[in-house]
């Protein structure tokens, strides 16, 4: 499962980082980095929760 980040929407509010610092980090330039290419399917529920928690709806999940 892949995490898609819509950079046009993201303003690095960081909610995702606080929920999963191992997958997301706001870098020194103030932009969000997605730290992983693939996430195990078993993590879907947790990721969906993070997607919903994004205040700018910038995250989505793909195959």
């Amino acid at each position: 499962m892949k995490i898609h980040l819509d950079r046009a929407k993201c303003t690095a509010l960081g909610v995702c980082e606080s929920m999963a610092p191992e997958w997301f980090e706001v870098n020194e330039d103030g932009d969000l980095d997605v730290l992983v290419d693939e996430v195990d399917e078993g993590q879907r529920e947790r990721l969906e929760e993070i997607v919903r928690a994004c205040p700018t709806a910038a995250l989505s999940l793909g195959d």
């Binding site: 606080s18 610092p21 706001v26 870098n27 103030g30 919903r52 994004c54 205040p55």
Partner: protein, 409 residues
């Protein structure tokens, strides 16, 4: 066949949407009804004082999952309908004459702007809804002078947006220090000074006693007798939980709907979520009612899950988070603003800083100005009940990381 399980939500905004969505995804497949006073499907409020005011073309800000809610066959959305009361014994929500039966009820009626106890001529606005934002924006087109009453976060954002559009902007604030309740006095003063740096006049200790103009506002009269000329006025003096429709019912109200740690109200099968809820947050062992996007979003789902799986219900333990965007600056706060903050990175008069808040040895809050990379690292520390020393160490690490990056550039 037995009657379907009725999951009813009052309030069709962020918390209500998330409650409904969680219910629709629940394996028990309850029938979901959402009742909302506004005519619109749930939309997003934070852009209303920011991007929406800055651009005439900006449309009603979408909220994740809002369109799907209306299309879902298990869900009925009743818009433009104001709930007028709850019969907690009969398990019924009243909408005037109409009644909606519930097995579980989630109340997510949010907050409504406080108003001044004064006569207000046309041209004096509050900002909470899309309709409010459109009304303000249409009058900003003419340019001229804007007076913002209240130097809180929403007022400050409106002032910044108006300034960006080329208006002359004055903010009048009754207190000597802005934002004291939200971030404490030292930090409030530091944030207040951002306005001056952008050519917005912040007048502190200035109470408003009246307005000038009859068909249209022309000025704001202050407690010292002076008048500030105005073509448009926005009042941003805080918000009150929307609980008046529950008065006299069986649900305990005290600065919001009183909830336990599980977001349960005093009435059976009734939960509350979002800006209207004052719940017992186990992480800080205190009741809190907060008006932030993240808690409203999370509480909606959390309340729904607890309502539908009472056996597996959990406490809602939460590190509050909010952000605010003024001019080109981002302010972010996590935790609770106890006591006097300590600067751990930068300085109060700098364009970027980090300050922490403590209770005993424990770090309980952090405020950053233009430190997007740092704030959530403090949130993680606070969630884990770490110490002030841990936070100071983090601050040193962050400063080092920035220095390294600067050296590479």
């Amino acid at each position: 066949m037995s009657a379907p399980f009725e999951f009813v939500v009052v309030g069709a905004s962020l918390a209500g949407l998330n409650a409904a969505r969680a219910a629709l995804q629940h394996p028990s497949a309850p029938r979901v009804t959402v009742i909302g006073a506004e005519e619109h499907l749930p939309y997003d409020r934070p852009p209303l004082s920011k991007a929406v005011l800055k651009s005439d073309e900006h449309e009603r800000p979408a909220l994740f999952g809002s369109a799907e809610l209306a299309e879902h066959e298990g869900c009925t959305v009743i818009l433009g309908a104001t709930a007028t009361g709850v019969d907690t014994a009969g398990h019924v929500v009243r909408l005037g004459e109409r009644e909606v039966r519930y097995d579980v009820l989630v109340i997510a009626t949010g907050a409504t702007p406080r108003t001044l106890p004064l006569e207000t001529p046309p041209g004096v606005h509050t900002l909470r809804t899309w309709d409010d934002a459109v009304a303000i924006r249409s009058q900003m087109r003419a340019g001229g002078r804007m007076v913002v009453i209240g130097a809180g976060f929403i007022g400050s954002e409106v002032a910044a947006s108006a300034k960006e559009r080329g208006m002359d902007v004055v903010i009048v604030e009754a207190l000597e220090v802005p934002l004291a309740r939200a971030v404490g006095e030292t930090a409030g003063a530091a944030l207040g000074s951002i306005h001056g740096r952008h050519g917005v006049d912040l007048r502190l200790g200035s109470g408003v006693i009246g307005f000038e103009g009859e068909d249209r506002v022309t000025g704001v009269t202050l407690s010292d007798g002076s008048t500030v000329p105005a073509d448009l006025v926005v009042v941003g003096i805080g918000a009150l939980p929307q609980t008046s429709w529950l008065d006299g019912g069986g649900i305990e109200i005290d600065n919001g709907i009183v909830c336990d740690s599980h977001l349960r109200t005093s009435a059976p099968d009734v939960f509350a979520a979002g800006d209207v809820a004052r719940w017992d947050n186990p992480l800080f062992a205190r009741h809190m009612r907060i008006e932030h996007w993240t808690s409203a979003q999370e509480q909606g789902s959390h309340a729904a899950q607890n309502a539908l799986d009472p056996g597996a219900a959990t406490a809602y333990s939460h590190v509050p988070y909010f952000w605010s965007d003024w001019y080109d600056s981002r302010i972010q706060f996590v935790g609770v603003p106890s006591g006097t903050p300590e600067i751990v990175d930068g300085s109060w008069d700098a364009e970027a800083f980090t300050a922490i808040y403590r209770e005993g040895d424990r770090v309980v809050g952090a405020l950053t100005l233009n430190r997007r990379a740092d704030i959530m690292k403090y949130r993680v520390l606070i969630a884990a009940s770490k110490t002030v020393e841990d936070a100071r160490a983090l601050a040193r690490d962050r400063a080092e990381a920035r220095a390294l990056k600067a050296a590479r550039a």
